[in-house]
Structures are given as C-alpha cells and as structure tokens.
C-alpha cells in the first residue's frame, strides 16, 4: 500500500493523546485508591488533559487531509452498524468530549468520585477508540498482514508507550512525584510492544512465503507459469499509485531498521538516563525520538501490505 501521511499522523497523534489521557488519569486513580500519595494541583490534570486534547485535535485535523470531501465528513458517522471506520468517526469525538468533561470537572474543582467516574468512562472510550482504529485495518481479511489481533494490540501498546513517555516528560516539568510511576509504565509498555511488534513482523515475513491468492486464482488459469504481459494502460492509474509504495525493497528494509532503533532502544536509553538523573529534557527527547520512530513504524505498517489487486498490475506492457 502507499502510505498516506494524513493517516500516519492521525494514528500516531491520537495514540499519544489516548496514552497521555490514560497516564494522567492513572495518576489520579492511583492517588485516589491510595497506591500513590502525591500532593496534586488540579492544574496538573487540566493541563495534561488539554495537551492530550491538542494531540487528539491534531490527529483529527490530519484525518481531514485524507478525505476528498471533508465538508461531507459528518456523513461518515452513519454506518456504525457495519463500518469500523464509521465507528472510529464516532468514537474519536466522543472520547474528546468525555476528556473535555474530565478537564472541565477538574477546572470546576469537582470532588473525587465525580472526576474518577468521568475518568473511567474516558478510559473505556479510549479503549473503544483504540479498538476501532485497529479494526479498521484488522477487519480487511484478505489484507493478511493486517488481519490479526496483533494489529489492535500494537495500536494500543504504541499509544500507551508514547503517551506514557510524554506523561513522564510532562510530569518531570509539572509534578516530579509522578515521574517514576509514569516512567516505569512507559518502559514496560515499550518492552511489551517491542515483543508484539516483532511478532507481527515475523508473522508477516512468513505470510510472504505462502500466498493465499496468486495470479493463478486472480485470472483463473492454474498453469504453473502465468505471466502478465500488459495491464491495459501505460501511464499508471489509481491502481498503480494507491496500492504500491513505489520504493525499493532496500528502502523498506531500512525503514524497518530505522523504526526498530528509534522506537525501542534509543528512547529506552534516554528514559533510563533521564529517570536516573531526573533530567526532564532527556525525557522529552525520548518522546520526540520515539514519535519520529512511530512515524516510520506507521509508514512501514502501510507499505508492507501486499494488496491482492497488485497481482493485476505486475507489468506495464
């Protein structure tokens, strides 16, 4: 597939936003049930929630660039019975609304159970949104690289990892008492997603070896030697632009190498240094580098998919 930057930014930005919200609420929740005992100014939750909302809004804005007719985007909420994309279109603003309520409740200085209840609803909404985003890809059964529960698991874990790293950096500036909690969560999520993403990479590698759909099934001629001689066009079309990444195998490999380094080891080293030295700048650097890595990861996520329609577009003439 041809990776679209609008969708890359949409999925990575809302991932950070969702993870950050969960982090901020985790802090409040842990305080409430007594796991932590930290003096917190409501501003900590308010700013954390607002920053998360900015990430969400950034993702939402990016998604509009993907549409041919953004002015009709409201229509996309209508098919929630069948379409995961439609469900995402509902879940995203719904989560943002709940998050806004959460911020507002803190601003109005509501007492604990109210904010906790809103927060729990918010967490449910975040996971609903994660699942919708993941299912958009995982539900396309013949795009086999995506059609796996790992797709959803990775979306959730990447969001949590990047959100918690951001929360670590944020609290290092705003309320250092949370730094260790956020930091260790962030490390744990990053380690787990390293495992699950590696699993999906090796799964996809194996898929290549035994394709289910071939040129033979595509044209119904089961000879062992079937070669395309012409695709009925010379100058390319939507079919050749949308479904091919247009880069070399080498480029793809390099992209994988880049994200495997930028998303996992580099931020982990920076986190380790930042956590032990209590240096907020190192923690922020960890976030920025991981985010850049996530852009590469998402690029690869799209590019690695071999769409069955490509079987019809192997040779120009």
């Amino acid at each position: 597939m041809h990776p679209a930057f609008s969708v890359i930014f949409l999925t990575t930005l809302i991932g950070v936003g969702q993870g950050l919200f969960i982090a901020v609420f985790t802090a409040e929740y842990f305080n409430w049930i007594g796991l932590l005992n930290v003096e917190v100014d409501p501003m900590f939750y308010i700013i954390g929630g607002l920053v998360s909302l900015v990430f969400m809004a950034g993702g939402l804005l990016a998604s509009f660039f993907h549409l041919g007719h953004p002015e009709r985007a409201w229509r996309a909420a209508s098919q929630w019975r069948t379409s995961w994309l439609s469900r995402e279109v509902i879940a995203l603003p719904a989560f943002m609304a709940i998050e806004f309520l959460y911020v507002l409740a803190h601003y109005l200085q509501f007492n604990e159970p109210t904010t906790i209840i809103i927060g729990i609803v918010g967490v449910i909404a975040t996971f609903a949104l994660f699942i919708c985003t993941g299912m958009i890809y995982a539900c396309l059964s013949f795009l086999r690289e995506w059609a796996s529960p790992l797709t959803i698991i990775n979306f959730i874990l990447f969001g949590l990892a990047s959100g918690f790293i951001f929360a670590t950096a944020y609290s290092a500036y705003a309320n250092p008492a949370f730094v260790q909690t956020f930091g260790w969560f962030a490390v744990a999520f990053t380690v787990v997603v390293f495992i699950t993403r590696s699993l999906s990479l090796s799964r996809n590698q194996k898929l290549k070896q035994k394709p289910k759909t071939t040129t033979q099934t595509a044209i119904g001629s089961h000879h062992t030697q079937v070669t395309q001689r012409s695709q009925g066009q010379m100058g390319g079309s939507y079919n050749t632009r949308e479904f091919f990444h247009g880069k070399t195998e080498m480029f793809l490999k390099n992209m994988r190498g880049i994200f495997m380094v930028l998303v996992f080891p580099v931020p982990m080293i920076l986190m380790g240094l930042g956590l032990s030295a209590g240096n907020p700048n190192l923690l922020l650097a960890a976030f920025v580098i991981q985010y850049v890595g996530l852009i590469a990861e998402r690029w690869y996520f799209f590019a690695q998919v071999n769409h069955p329609q490509n079987l019809y577009y192997q040779t120009v003439s």
């Binding site: 993907h66 229509r75 013949f142 119904g220 395309q228 695709q231 009925g232 939507y238």
Partner: protein, 242 residues
Amino acid sequence: MTQLALVIDLNVCVGCHACVTSCKQWNTSGDAGPLPDDNPYGANPTGVFFNRVQTYEVGKFPNTETIHFPKSCLHCEDAPCVPVCPTGASYKRKEDGIVLVDYDKCIGCKYCSWACPYGAREFDEHDKVMKKCTLCVDRIYDQNLPETERKPACVMACPPGARLFGDIHDPDSEVSSAIREQGGFALMPELGTQPSNHYLPRHKRKIPIHEDELVRVDSPLAKEEKKDYDEGSASLEDSASW
C-alpha cells in the same frame, strides 16, 4: 432475487479494447459528469476507467498461449467494499444486485478501494469521489432505447461477442446456462466475495478435418485445370473436361 452480471468468454475475447473505449465513452458522457483523462496525449496518460483489458501469457516458451482478460467490478454477491463504507455511499441494490457509489454522499476516504481485492474501484482525482463500473445502470433500464440496446455499453461494443449480460440468479438465463454448461468460474474464489461476474475458461478448439474434405470433388476449378496425362496413352475421355 435478481443479480445482474457479466459473463466474459475468454475463448472469444481477442483483446481489442473495444469494451474499454465504449465503456469510457458512455460513462464519461452521462449525468455523473466526465471521467478524468489527464495527459491523454502526453508521456504519462492517466485517468479513470471502469473496465480494462489485460493480457497474460500462460505456459513456457515456445508453448505459450495468450489470454486477454477484461476486468471490471464483479458486483460481488458478498461485496466486501460495501459494509466498510462509513457513509453508506457504497451500496448494493436489492432489486438487481448492482454495486453502486452515490457520488453525492462519498467523502473520498478510499476505504472501499482497500477492501476490494480486485482493484475494481478507481478514485476520481477531479471529483474527489470513488468511481466504478455501474453495469451501465443508466442504460439497461432506459425506456427510450430499443430493447435490444438495453445492455451495458461494453456488451454492445464487443465485436466477437465475448461478453454476455443477464441475471445469474435466473437458471434459464443465457448467462446462467453459459456458466453451467461451459464451466464459468469466479475470480479469487478463495476470498469468499462471491463475484457475480463470471469468466468462461479457455479451451482448445479442434475440428477434425480429413484431407479429402479440403478439396471439393466437384470443384469448378477442376474444369479449367490442365490435366497431366501421358501423351501416348491418352484417350478422349482422359482429356475431356468433366
């Protein structure tokens, strides 16, 4: 239930692209507005077509054969492109099974094209909506056309008549009997989309001809032929024209 579809005889298709051009001509002239055709005379012409004819070579040289392969939306019975559409712009008509896009509702998110395994949908970069074969829905019901012309433009155009059109749910239709009797098959059946369009497979045609059938015994040419006979032994009968 009716399910309109095309049945394409790969034995008959000669790869002339007449269906491609007549499809484009009809569908670029309709109510929905023109189909893009960028740099038609430039180095990289590109545009939207609902139908394309591709060519495949089967076998190993020198024992190869050519298959010309027209490809358009297959109007799948279990169309994967329809449920994924977030706006409801993509839909399958109950009355005749045609899969259509409502260009006024489409937001151009391209998700349906990802869900179609056949690459049958093409995005219109000018109108910013998804386009695809309509089975000439604006032709086949047109009461102003003579009944024999109420067929998709490609079917009308095909010079050797490789394209059949009809209801595959009606067991007595021309298309149903063609599928039944000539081994009609679907594309990528393993994906479970149940395409409505079918293809009739290539088969070897052999007509047994005996040598004496090549020469007519009473060929009029024989009258003018100079007989090759032995001068010495020739009689009148031998040299007479008969």
